[in-house]
Every structure is written in structure tokens, then in C-alpha cells.
């Protein structure tokens, strides 16, 4: 088990290092960052001054090691636009994004799982066909356009839910959240649904194929032979088996939820780090972009590690095989 963790850790480290290298060369070799920092009418002297001040006159390898040393200390530079520490700005926005992603994930499970289970248990039922058609549509619909339609329908036409923004925020157990008020839930409902859309389709497919596979297994037939109620067979025997792949996949998909939140946050003016990233890209605020990328990569790597551990916790075959090693 320990060897397994160490190996996974080394892989994670490799990904992080590779990303650092790519980001550095991406930002320093492709294009001259100085031109992004000076006003358009700057004189040659002003340009050179900025170049020296930020150390861009040094050789590339010197810059690279300084970059490495800086980020190792958590220093990603100062935002050109906001002036403050780039990493600080990103981290301040992170709770909002994580909140959105977590709620989206919950939506994906509570909507997708029952639908997928149903479609798997009764594959020939007309409702199952409708569910599967819906899931194909869910894969095809561009997220941003669905977001617009949600706003149009629920906010503009029906006026049920607010179109933009986040509810009042409080700190609970050290976590900043807006979910303690009804207003907070009203605000998060549309963006979370929007973000969840793709994952709902994914959960439906996973749950359906998992259910169909499990229903054919001898252990389900044996459970029926024991005289268990259909409820218990589906709720315990089948559900526990299909949850393993679903939790694994959803865990891995959490990172993509964070990434896709760039789109959703922009549409719904959700004050998360994705929206900040987009503003930074448009304003050429390089340190913020770099800080965002590194934060998201770290998040990804951590999630993958956690999912591996969770996976082994859910599947006794993996868990105990690991222990006896």
C-alpha cells in the first residue's frame, strides 16, 4: 500500500513539474511579456526600464530558476491589473468556485443516478429511451448556450431565480460559503445546474450500463433467490456495485468541473477564480494566469490522489489486496 502511494505521489510530482516547465516556457518564450506591461505609447527607455525592473533582461535559464524559486515559496508575482499578490487573489476566489463545483457534483448524482438506475433496470421502457436521448443531448449541448437558455427561461421569462451573482457569504467551520441562506441556494441553482449538465449525462450513462451489467450477475439472481425485496436488491446489491465506477469517474471529473466553471462563472457572473482567469486573459494579466494554472494543476493532482484512495476504500477487493501486500 505504501509503495503504491509513493508511486502515485511520484507520478503526481512529475505532472506538476512538467506543467511548471510548460507554463514558464509558454509565457516567456512565446511572446515578450514586457509589451503586455507597458502602455502602447511607451518610449524605448521606459520599456527597457520595465524589462530590468522585472528581470526580463536576464538569460532564460536564470529567469527559469528564479521563477522556480519564487513559486516554490508560493510567490507568483503581483497582478498587473489588481496590484496585489496573484496567488492571494486566486485563492480568495477559490471557495466560490469549489462551492459551485461541489453543488454541481451533488446535482449530477441526485439527478443522474436515479435516472440511470431506472434506464438500466427497464431498458425497454419508453421513459428509459427518453432518458437516454436526453443524455445524448446533454453531451451535445454546448455548456455556455445552455447557461444562456437557463437564464432566459428561469430568470427572464419566469422570473423564478436570479440570473447572476452569488448570495450573501459567511464563514462556517473555516469554509467560506453562501449555502446557509435560501438566497444563496437561489443564486447557485442555475449556475450549478448548468455546470452539472454534462456530468448528469455522464452519471446516467455510467449508472445505466453499470445497472444492466450488475442485473445479469449471479449475485443478483442469488439475492432474488433469497427472497429479498426488489428495493433491497436495487438499493444495496446493485447500487453498491455501480457506485464504485461512478465515484471514481466523478472524482476525476471534479477537476474538469473546476475548469469548466470558467464558462459558467462568466455567464452567471459568479465571483469565482474562473471568472477572474477570463478577465486576466482578456487584460493580459500574466501572473494571475500563471497562478491560476498552477493552482488548478495542484488541485487536479490532489484530486486524483484522493480518488485513488477513495476508490480503494469503496472496493474491498482493492482495499484488502493492498493491505495484505
Amino acid at each position: 500500500m505504501l509503495a503504491f502511494i509513493i508511486r502515485r505521489f511520484a507520478q503526481a510530482l512529475f505532472v506538476v513539474v512538467a506543467m511548471v516547465v510548460i507554463v514558464f516556457f509558454g509565457t516567456n518564450v512565446v511572446g515578450d511579456p514586457v509589451w503586455m506591461m507597458v502602455p502602447g505609447d511607451a518610449t524605448q527607455e521606459q520599456v527597457e526600464e520595465v524589462r530590468r525592473a522585472f528581470g526580463f533582461d536576464q538569460p532564460v535559464y536564470v529567469q527559469f530558476f528564479r521563477f522556480l524559486a519564487d513559486i516554490a515559496q508560493g510567490d507568483f508575482g503581483r497582478s498587473y491589473v489588481h496590484g496585489g499578490s496573484a496567488i492571494r487573489l486566486i485563492l480568495d476566489r477559490m471557495p466560490a468556485t469549489l462551492e459551485l463545483a461541489v453543488v454541481a457534483l451533488i446535482f449530477a448524482v441526485i439527478i443522474g443516478l436515479p435516472l440511470g438506475l431506472f434506464a438500466g433496470l427497464k431498458p425497454d421502457h419508453p421513459a428509459s429511451r427518453a432518458i437516454m436521448a436526453g443524455s445524448i443531448l446533454g453531451f451535445s449541448l454546448p455548456t455556455f448556450w445552455v447557461g444562456l437558455m437557463l437564464i432566459m427561461f428561469f430568470a427572464v421569462m419566469l422570473g423564478w431565480l436570479p440570473a447572476t451573482g452569488r448570495g450573501p457569504v459567511t464563514t462556517f467551520l473555516g469554509i467560506e460559503t453562501s449555502l446557509h441562506t435560501l438566497k444563496g441556494w437561489q443564486h447557485i441553482a442555475l449556475p450549478a445546474l448548468n455546470l452539472a449538465l454534462l456530468k448528469i449525462s455522464l452519471v446516467i450513462r455510467l449508472a445505466r450500463s453499470g445497472t444492466r451489467e450488475a442485473s445479469l450477475q449471479d449475485y443478483v439472481k442469488f439475492a432474488r433467490a433469497k427472497g429479498l425485496s426488489p428495493r433491497r436488491i436495487v438499493g444495496v446489491h446493485i447500487l453498491k456495485n455501480i457506485m464504485i465506477p461512478i465515484v471514481t469517474v466523478l472524482g476525476l471529473e471534479f477537476g474538469s468541473l473546476v475548469a469548466f466553471s470558467v464558462v459558467t462563472e462568466t455567464i452567471f457572473a459568479w465571483p469565482g477564480m474562473g471568472k477572474l482567469l477570463l478577465e486576466s486573459i482578456q487584460r493580459l494579466d500574466r501572473p494571475l494566469v500563471v497562478a491560476y494554472v498552477m493552482v488548478v494543476v495542484l488541485l487536479f493532482v490532489t484530486i486524483n490522489l484522493i480518488v485513488d484512495i477513495l476508490y480503494s476504500a469503496l472496493d474491498p477487493r482493492v482495499r484488502l489486496a493492498g493491505k495484505s501486500e
Binding site: G26, G31, F144, W145, L148, M157, I281, V296, F300
Partner: protein, 299 residues
């Protein structure tokens, strides 16, 4: 000699493939949809009542008219008009051209690059394969929308930049797929036979392994093209994709966003429907292709 024998059988297989594909009515619908969309895009200048790029034809007095209004020029704007007075139907037809062009071009280049890299990885194996697959894994572990956003942040706006970003996002899928099926093919006897006849590496790869890897590539290509079109629209919508001078569907939707809250839904809605139909059509065809070309997945 072998060609003479092989041709009729290949034809028979192709005919069977077509028959199997046409068995599924939904897929045929998808195919019809795509054909229609492509035709509309190709013949946009002939069909569109207005050239949306021609500023002389666009009248600001026509702006934000609801669907069915009459334009100042006297034709009916069935889908309404956008913020600067362009007929939306014309805008969508021209927008389709750009969206399809960007999607197909990036897909074609990415497929070519991915094919070569995947073949090289599978054929030579060893360290080359290891390095390539590490890069592929790294690439695939990151969400495409994020990679594309970062690339656009580094490269800037423009059609060429977007195409580059879309290529970078897609190539790894092709490389992984091609490597997978090439590995299987490589172990088969006819490759050994080709090698022992003294054929060169390139010839063995292109003549013998590549044709047998094409089926999964075609399936991936449909999915990836739909994905690329959607991604371009997303980037353009976010304002980091195509510039206003290249109004793809994403740009049109983005332009309409600001009018959405005041209830002028059509400016964003109809380009979105066009985008949706395109993607759904491609996906339906792709689903069926996967079923037909990959008998293992069939029930």
C-alpha cells in the same frame, strides 16, 4: 494479383457497412441533418437574403428586430436581426461556414499529426513510445477547455491561433487511439510478412498498419470535430476566440448575450440552435459509426 482478389471483397464490405449504417433511422436523420447544414454553409452566398459582411447592405435601423420583421430592404427577417441590424438567418449561414471550417480544418490537421505520432509510438515502441505516451497522458489529463484557454491567453486572438489551440487540444486523442489499434495490428502476421519481404518502415506503416487503424480514427474524428466546433464557439463566446471580423456562431451568440436580459432572446437563441443541430447531427452519426465499425461493442 492480390489487389484483384482484394477489391471485390473490400467493396462487399463497404456495401455491408453502408447497409448496417442505414439500418438505424436516427443515424440517417443525423446524416441528413449534417448534409443539409453543410450544403447551407457552402451555398450561403446564394441562399442568404443579405451579405452580413457588406456594410452597405446592413442598416442600423434594422437592429434588434424580432423574428418575422420586415427589413428596410423589404425582405422578411424570419429569425430577426442582431444588435447592428444584420439579418440573423444570413448571419447564421455565414457563421456556419466559419464554425465548420475551423472545426474541420483543426480536426484534419490534428488527425494527421495524431496519426503520425500514434503510428510512430506503436511501431517503434521502447523509449520513443514511452515519451510520447507520457505526453499524451499529460495532455489528456487536463480538460480541453482549460488547455485551450491557456493557449489562447498565450497566443492571442485570431483564426490561426484558435485553430492551433484546437489542434493542440485534439491531437492526443488521435495519437492514443491510433497507437492502441496499431499495437494490435503490429503483432499480426501480415506485418511480419511485409517486414520480411524487405519493405521499409514507412511503407509498412502506411501501407499495412494505417489502413487497419482507420475505423477507430473515423469514430474519434466525428466526436472530436463536434467537440472542436463546440469548443471554438465556447472560446468565441467568452471573447477570447474568434474576433468580431470572423463572426462564427459563437461570436453571434456572444453578441446577443447582452440583449438577453432585456428579453431579446432570438439574437443568442437561433445561432445556438444552429450550433446545437450541427453538434447533435455529428454525434448521432458518430454513435452509429461506432456501433457499426466496432462489432465488439454491439449487444
Amino acid at each position: 494479383m492480390s489487389d484483384v482478389v482484394a477489391t471485390p471483397r473490400a467493396k462487399g464490405e463497404f456495401a455491408r457497412f453502408v447497409d448496417r449504417f442505414l439500418e438505424d433511422r436516427v443515424a440517417v436523420f443525423g446524416l441528413g441533418l449534417i448534409t443539409l447544414i453543410v450544403l447551407l454553409a457552402v451555398f450561403a452566398p446564394l441562399i442568404a437574403p443579405q451579405n452580413p459582411y457588406d456594410l452597405a447592405k446592413v442598416d442600423i435601423m434594422d437592429s434588434r428586430q424580432p423574428p418575422g420583421s420586415k427589413s428596410m430592404d423589404g425582405f422578411t427577417m424570419w429569425l430577426g436581426s442582431d444588435g447592428v441590424g444584420r439579418d440573423l438567418w444570413s448571419g447564421i449561414l455565414y457563421g456556419l461556414r466559419i464554425s465548420l471550417m475551423v472545426g474541420l480544418l483543426s480536426g484534419l490537421i490534428a488527425a494527421t499529426i495524431g496519426l503520425c505520432i500514434g503510428l510512430i509510438a506503436a511501431y517503434f515502441g521502447g523509449r520513443i513510445e514511452n515519451v510520447i505516451m507520457r505526453i499524451v497522458d499529460l495532455q489528456l489529463s487536463l480538460p480541453s477547455v482549460l488547455v485551450a484557454l491557456i493557449l489562447v491567453a498565450l497566443l492571442g486572438k485570431g483564426v490561426d491561433k484558435i485553430i492551433i489551440a484546437l489542434i493542440v487540444v485534439q491531437w492526443a486523442y488521435y495519437a492514443r487511439t491510433v497507437r492502441g489499434s496499431a499495437l494490435v495490428e503490429r503483432r499480426k502476421e501480415y506485418v511480419e510478412a511485409a517486414r520480411s519481404l524487405g519493405l521499409s518502415h514507412t511503407r509498412t506503416m502506411l501501407k499495412h498498419i494505417l489502413p487497419n487503424c482507420l475505423a477507430p480514427v473515423i469514430v474519434i474524428a466525428t466526436v472530436q470535430t463536434a467537440h472542436a466546433i463546440s469548443l471554438e464557439a465556447t472560446l468565441s463566446f467568452l471573447g477570447v476566440g474568434l474576433p468580431q471580423t470572423e463572426p462564427s456562431l459563437g461570436v453571434l451568440i456572444s453578441n446577443g448575450f447582452q440583449y438577453m436580459l432585456s428579453g431579446k432572446y432570438w439574437i443568442s437563441f437561433f445561432p445556438g440552435v444552429a450550433l446545437l443541430l450541427t453538434i447533435v447531427g455529428i454525434n448521432l452519426v458518430g454513435d452509429r459509426l461506432r456501433d457499426v465499425l466496432n462489432p465488439r461493442l454491439e449487444k
